[in-house]
Amino acid sequence: MLTKRIIPCLDIKNGRTVKGVNFVDLRDAGDPVELAAIYAQTGADELVFLDISATEERRKTLANLVKNVARQVDIPFTVGGGISSVADVAILLHNGADKVSVNSSAVKHPDLICELSKNFGNQCITVAIDAKFINNEWVVHLVGGKVPTEYKLFDWAKEAQERGAGEILFTSMDNDGTKDGFANQALAKLSETLHIPIIASGGAGTMEHFKDAFVLGKADAALAASVFHFKEIAIPELKDYLYRHGIDMRR
């Protein structure tokens, strides 16, 4: 059986792991390579590194960090933040990243998804989407959730899939940082209308929230940061809990 994935997300700024509450008020939570190795040892299925400052600061790659992670960590990982060209992706993959995620740059230049998919295959292209529920619609936002766009979540996700995305990482801006659970209705709609895997992000606070993301939200993977970084939820216990509730887990 293909199992559901638990993915700690390491938000990176200046080479350190940080996690914001609604993407502001950053708190330092450690060395990314060390943290990544601990997560791999304790049963994380995959890791995501997001350079959250990248889009604003136009920082390019995390090539060195990627190489250090790849050297020490034996589970797959995705790298995102500030990726806007085939050359950016080539460097990250060459240094050992398994997948890359694109967000703002893909919204601004949707052809980027096609180019990346053609060059590297869609299996390593994750399209990350930040959206906020406004006037009864999920509105896609840019630059870490600060700038609204004309795109709606479901249309954009479908377009991304058609252009060659291999996976969608959906972050609900309304849920992110609240610890009140994932945006399960929107997740379920994404999962039912698309034929690529969906990663749930934003809102994890309890183990039950993860269960809901898989059962109600029909997500293929669930991503969280602070609940893992601040040891509020331990991954082995989480996986045991989910397994006991009938969800296929690698344990």
């Binding site: 293909l2 559901k4 299925d45 034996d74 797959p76």
Partner: protein, 193 residues
């Protein structure tokens, strides 16, 4: 022991090199035929799209060299698929080491399959010390059907080959370099052949 990872510009081959280093060996990345021919073990990796990977192999005439190798060769992911006779991905011919046709996963499945799945019916010394139903990491949209060459299988909308072998040629669909301790064991077994 001389270990060569064929470097033809496809995918994140450094991960394979790092995984071998974690086992205490060194591996050379090379596309030089002399380096490849004189290696004790050859790893043929591949991530990406079949047609463009094949083109890169052809440019360096590696498509001709690889099927003639006599030492143990391990194709990983796309590398395994390219060892087959043909693939539905771009409808191109492979290197033909295995007389098998690579197919696309059924439309009703989520494709690509991304994540950890189990391997069963383990039939090779590649899996010495590996328990049946162990988890490995997979990311792919095309698959190798079961055949007499199958040395392990996984289930995704039905059973298919996640491992194949013919003589000195081995192929695994999963990424041993990213499959935690199980993957490390399988890589170590390959290096011990």
């Amino acid at each position: 022991m001389k270990i060569v990872i064929i470097d033809y510009g496809a995918g994140n081959i450094q991960s394979v090199q790092f995984a071998i280093e974690r086992l205490g060996y060194t591996a050379i990345l090379s596309s030089d035929p002399n380096e490849i021919i004189t290696a004790d073990k050859v790893i043929f990796p591949g991530v990406g799209q079949a047609e463009s990977a094949l083109k890169k192999l052809q440019e360096q005439e590696l498509d001709v060299l690889i099927p003639t190798l006599k030492q143990p060769v391990l194709g990983i992911c796309l590398g395994m698929q390219l060892l087959c006779a043909s693939t539905e991905e771009g409808n191109v011919k492979g290197l033909g080491v295995f007389d098998l046709a690579v197919k696309r996963f059924d439309q009703h499945l989520k494709v690509p399959q991304i994540g950890w799945n189990q391997i069963q019916d383990l039939k090779s010394s590649l899996f010495t010390g590996v328990a049946t139903d162990s988890f490995v990491y997979l990311v792919h949209s095309y698959f190798v059907p079961q055949s007499e060459h199958t040395i392990c299988s996984s289930n995704y909308g039905g059973l298919y080959s996640t491992g194949i072998q013919r003589d000195n040629f081995y192929g695994v669909q999963f990424h041993p370099e990213k499959s935690s301790s199980v993957g490390a064991k399988i890589l170590a077994n390959f290096l011990a052949l």
